[in-house]
Symmetry: C2
Subunit: 447 residues, 2 copies
């Protein structure tokens, strides 16, 4: 019984993971907003990535460049000239289509006119705006919303290398929004016009690039597995020659390999992340367009070189969606009794532990429960919930993927000074002394 | 000897906190990029805020709405009509000025022409772009880059409240980029066209709003102090009647109070955060413009009400800059020997602990140092540095605000299996057993 996209969209809305942007105004442009749980889930995905690629490595540093950048950057990168889709207009009804998505010799899908299409014209996918109060004739006040975060890294290569004193090979990581004026966004948060990237540019000597390319493919693949993603849903796919981006087409590059995920509502595996060998394309282009010398002084060879770059480029929204779909389980607890449970890795779970008072009108129970919650909240993401009976609260926490529930009951305050800790996956309950429960839960979470 | 802005800009560039955006292209539009240390510092500021206003409270949830939203939202909010500056053009040279920044009866500051100014016209400060391949006649494909994150919260009020089941009073917090096409950006990262906000909309009953307004002013003021900001540099300033925004001008509102910081390079204290009482302005406007019923069902009164809202709205870039400036110290270590030290609160320090091998060519020392670094990196932000002699490395870590340095030396591997831990502020050194050093440092950091 394959999970349909509507089921995911519905769960996401019902539980506060993802809402349609501008919903009260009828929605807008395939944009989506992350709700109270979604924002935590996505933060956790991004934090896990940052922890893995920046904090636990000695050869990486972080960066956060602005979305608005000098327009020449997009000339140097090739985006002004080539980042476009071919469009045709129907001359009768003015509807516009991607030329490769319609049969241009057939009637218009909108109005039915025949032979009505214009010649294909290139439509640039960058959003454009202008900066400052005066339009300048040389276009220097034009700004594009960056279509990728990568270029913000390349133009900071010298500053980042100089201040961090890193030696080759080393990399720069960045998380941030990017924008593409897609003609056909879709598949929920999978393809949207506004999205968040997690990109690495890893600089190295040309001769090391093929080996490091393979190492990064492996490292990034294992990252998804380490956070609990099921191996059978992940695959690696090297790009065919004819689908390679311009920077990866040269003989110098070892191409691009995608990490793909089989979403249950798509017919084929779809890209979560691409790991490209961009050779020295970008730094060379920026040296040329800026007139600056952009090179690395290699102390071993005593010469300046333009490094090659390996680019593992992941989508934060896609990864978040894949982790959510992958965690989704429906289980028969006992005959006729189903539960929905999101089996998130503890690092990704939006709420790590829920503290539930068995009776919300008994001050001693409430007092203990609030104290336990406040104590845990200093160390992890804890939630206090008293808005339903305990059985319903357990199911609700299962459905949002909370690894542990702590229940404070009459025995806690009258007898044993202990609480019940329930495990999301096994549903087993264990009695733990109040003064041990923080350590017990934090050790099990290990986050 | 007051710190000049140039000193801060220079330190930020030299140590990798902040770089000019698009620097190799001559910079762009007063945009700035956060370098390897700046990105960590700003992340820490944002995480501390999130921890304080979302995770440690029971009455708050988070949200992350998109930057591109339905254009009607900005009609409802008043931004299309009123979010503008009056500009005048010089008819001779076409230079453009803010009408309130030039003497319109005097010669043009650019070309010297007299009586050359046009009548003032309103220049809207929202960046505009268009979405999708077709321009629509009703303007429904226009998108503004949001000038504040607040509206993304208001339009999600119903979804966030329904899914979180919060009762009044409760709030929604959001961190995200906003954009204003400022005529005169400046003061480094203090006023920029692209910036990041940390906003709270706290919904409550009308009669509770005055009290909660005061509580939030106090809570937010104390947050800055709790992260080590010096009290003498902070102040609270209620807005004068004539500077209140439209939503705070009604009798229903208790106005706006700013938390201000005295930057050493500004003549007056400047706003870090504004805490406004917006009354029921925003939810009422969105109900009107969307045609949807936006209300909260009050179970105590058994009626639907439109909540009031208290808005603590902080700038993440401004807070980051203030924490950096506030942490800056120059000290005479001994006669004639000065050091620069950033006395960051441990929660904010970009690097929490540096691991320094005394000799980088002695494999046993390097092996221990790398192991200690890897172990600490699982728990906190640790850095391995072997690129200079130990005295220089200490000063470098002082200048980036690292609370602790751990030095691995010959005694470590030959004699005592212990390391030297140096405290940034006291510069005292203590010998700590290798198997105790993680606990020793983490306890002292308490983060």
């Amino acid at each position: 019984m394959a999970l349909k996209m509507e089921d995911i969209v519905s769960l996401c809305k019902r539980r506060g993971f993802v809402f349609q942007s501008s919903e009260i105004y009828g929605g807008f442009a395939s944009c989506w907003d992350y709700g109270p749980l979604g924002v935590e889930l996505k933060r956790n995905v991004k934090d896990a990535w940052w922890q893995s690629v920046v904090r636990e490595r000695d050869d990486m540093v972080g960066l956060d460049s602005s979305i608005l950048m000098h327009p020449k950057i997009w000339e140097a990168s090739g985006h002004v000239a080539t980042f476009s889709d071919p469009l045709v207009d129907c001359k009768k009804c003015n509807a516009r289509f991607r030329a490769d998505h319609v049969d241009v010799s057939a009637p218009c899908p909108n109005c039915g006119a025949k032979d009505s299409f214009t010649e294909p014209r290139n439509f640039n996918l960058m959003f454009k705006t202008s900066v400052g109060p005066v339009d300048k004739e040389d276009g220097s006040n034009i700004a594009y919303l960056r279509p990728e975060t990568a270029q913000g890294i390349f133009v900071n290569f010298l500053n980042a290398q100089n201040t961090s004193r890193k030696k080759l090979p080393f990399g720069i990581a960045q998380i941030g929004k990017a924008f593409r004026n897609e003609i056909t966004p879709g598949n929920f948060t999978f393809r949207t016009r506004e999205f968040e990237q997690m990109e690495i540019e890893y600089f190295c000597r040309a001769e090391d690039a093929p080996r490091l390319h393979q190492e990064w493919i492996q490292a990034r693949y294992e990252w998804y597995l380490s956070l609990g993603m099921k191996k059978e849903n992940l695959s690696l796919r090297p790009h065919e020659k004819d689908e390679l981006a311009h920077y990866a087409q040269s003989e110098a590059s070892t191409g691009t390999t995608d990490i793909e995920y089989q979403f249950p509502f798509m017919s084929e595996p779809a890209e979560l992340e691409g790991i490209a060998n961009r050779a020295d394309f970008d730094l060379s282009q920026h040296a040329k367009f800026s007139g600056q010398k952009i090179a690395y002084f290699d102390p071993e060879r005593n010469e300046h070189i333009v490094p090659y770059v390996i680019e593992p480029s992941a989508g934060a929204d896609r990864a978040t969606l894949a982790f959510l779909v992958d965690a989704y389980h429906e289980e028969e607890v006992k005959p006729g009794d189903m539960r929905t449970v999101l089996k998130f890795h503890p690092k990704l779970a939006p709420i790590k532990v829920a503290v539930l008072p068995l009776a919300k009108n008994k001050p001693p129970i409430v007092e203990v429960a609030k104290r336990v919650k406040a104590q845990l909240a200093k160390k992890t993401m804890a939630q206090y919930d008293d808005t339903a009976a305990i059985g319903k609260l357990y199911r609700r926490q299962d459905e949002i993927g909370t690894p542990f529930c702590i229940t404070v009951d009459f025995d806690t305050v009258e007898k044993d000074n202990a609480v019940t800790v329930r495990d999301r996956d096994t549903m087993l309950q264990e009695r733990v002394a109040l003064d041990q429960v923080e350590k017990y839960v934090l050790d099990k979470l290990d986050v």
